[in-house]
Amino acid sequence: MSRRVPFALFVLCLSAGCSTHATRLVEVRTAYFDGDVAGARAKIETSLKKHPREADVLKLDQATVFLSDDKPREAEKLLREVRDRFDHLEQKSLAEGALAMLTDDQALAYAGEDYEKVLVRAFLALSNLMSDGQDAEAFALQVGEKQRQIVESGKAPDGKNPKESYKLVPVGAYLHAALREQTHVNYDDAARSLEQVCQWAPDCRQARQDLERVRGGHHSARGNGVLYVFTLVGRGPYKEERAEIPTQAALLIADRILSMTAKHSLPPTVAPVKVPRVVVPANEVQSVRVAVDGRGWGQTETVTDVGRLATEQADALMPYVIARAVARRVVKKGTVYTVKEALPSQAGGAVMEIGLDIAGVVWEATEAADTRCWGLLPEKIQVLRVELPAGEHQLALEPVGVHGGAQGPAQTATVRVEDGRNAYVLAGFPTGRLAGKVVCGQGR
């Protein structure tokens, strides 16, 4: 019996992850950002077969690829599926939690980061607009509703709410305003939503202009319609594994976790622990220049800074993430100690003790940070509103850098604008190269 204990510990430590989602994501990101949509899709499909525990985040990536490839219905189907699953996984599973304490956070079913839960609804609204647009308004409303729910649910037992500092996602409110203005009846709703956008994204001039118009003007002049150009700009956030020294705040939280679950106290010194860190790469593309029928209309403006959103949310929750890793470390050390105590003191006990120490070290070393994430998000979601005479128009989209210099060739598409209505275009420029196609939708 006693000889099996180190072996059991060894197996347990092997069950903790050695390779992480981050390493597997590199290939997918590289293919997609190079404009190889088919290659990215194939890699995602392969990963889906091999790593079912990462299925939800891989489906989010797959949806992004579908959307870029002008397959909005397929994208919507996947996004709906993941949205519902994330909602279900918001409930905690004690069994999974206990297993994660013995292995690492990869043992938990991934319920999505808060920004992912909100953005999945924003992408649902965009996908739906690119097809029939029947549900776009509902999805746009869900963006705001989910944000409120997340912030309200963030209250810790000590009364503090780290989620109160969250930056909110304005793109849902912006889409809601665009859809309500198009009814020509609900300018009040449009104004209300745009006020939120201006509050959450104060640098967005486009939103300020829109607010001014819905308060005192009209959707468009008679005979004109409106084209909304949405662009997904830059390579977005992803997670990397980092070794972090626990901060004082994290140690306090870890102490609370331990005292809640057992009568352990926190050891005075704790070595660095592995945690996921959100990384946003430096992007050369900052915006997209829009020209219609040869005439320049300006550049798309940021309505949601996804990179900043992800980083700030991760920073707000980092003490809690580190605390969980510290608590896990203590539980593992405690387990090894308890096993040693249970062993009979007889000849060969010293060897057994060394064996247990080695197993304990391996157990801790094989622990990996949970780097699962939606890996193909853009750094920014941008928009430009253009009022055009009803009819067909030639659209040209050119990715530009900080100083307005072209970062890649202009991409063209034909768009149809109807009198008094909205038309929508979506294009992804993670780099100077277009990812997939320029997608056109009429909405409702």
């Binding site: 069994a95 009040d188 709703d189 209300r192 009209h218």
Partner: protein, 219 residues
């Protein structure tokens, strides 16, 4: 470790594991069709419990009064034929209506058609007319704009006798860890020929409490 110790520890581990597995399972979301008369009460904002009686009060009274007047003037001739163009609800309250607004509009439309004295023009025609003229609801208070809009609606085969506007407003009184919000729905019926307006309002007061104690104290 003797056999008794082994059995005790194994039992604890097994029972603990089973407890974790059973107690820690995620449950599926639950829902049910509400069959009783009472609507759920919104704890952060107004919902069905507020809007339904507001509509019943404001729209019901306005149509009853107007319908009665119309019938008297028409010497008891059945008046199902006076057509109302319901322009929409303007939300000036402190809360956003979210998905409720379109539903409120539909309820008001249905209420008009059930009145027996009036018929509501389909919202789709109203929307198309406003899109065609690029007029906002407020613009229709000017006689010239009203005539332009009426002309477009007539072209669509949808002439009307009255314009109906709805406005939702709110007033908030802050207390200590609680607040009272008064919701007011105002319906304004404008005779397209004479320009005369008739108004009717309904109000509901609602208290929002941060703590159960506050709610209990106000009972």
């Amino acid at each position: 470790m003797n056999r008794r110790q082994f059995l005790t520890r194994s039992g604890t581990v097994l029972l603990g594991g089973a407890g974790l597995a059973l107690g820690g399972c995620r449950s599926n979301p639950q829902a049910q069709v509400l069959t009783n008369q009472n609507d759920m009460v919104g704890t952060r904002a107004a919902g069905a419990e507020t809007f339904k009686p507001l509509i019943e009060g404001a729209v019901g009274n306005l149509l009853a009064r107007q319908g009665h007047g119309v019938q008297q003037a028409g010497l008891n001739v059945p008046q199902a034929g006076k057509r109302i163009c319901f322009v929409g609800i303007e939300n000036k309250s402190a809360e956003d209506l979210g998905d409720s607004k379109e539903q409120l509009r539909e309820i008001i439309d249905t209420r008009i058609n059930q009145s027996g004295a009036f018929l509501a023009i389909s919202p789709k025609f109203v929307q198309a007319g406003l899109r065609e003229t690029r007029l906002k609801a407020d613009d229709l208070f000017l006689p010239a704009n009203r005539r332009t809009f009426l002309a477009i609606m007539e072209q669509q085969g949808q002439p009307f006798d009255y314009l109906l506007f709805a406005t939702l407003t709110s007033g908030t009184t802050q207390g200590n860890g609680e607040h009272q919000r008064d919701y007011l729905l105002t319906m304004e019926l404008v005779d397209i020929q004479s320009g005369q307006a008739d108004k009717e309002s309904a109000t509901i007061r609602k208290g929002y409490y941060d703590r159960h104690v506050s709610k209990w104290m106000h009972k």
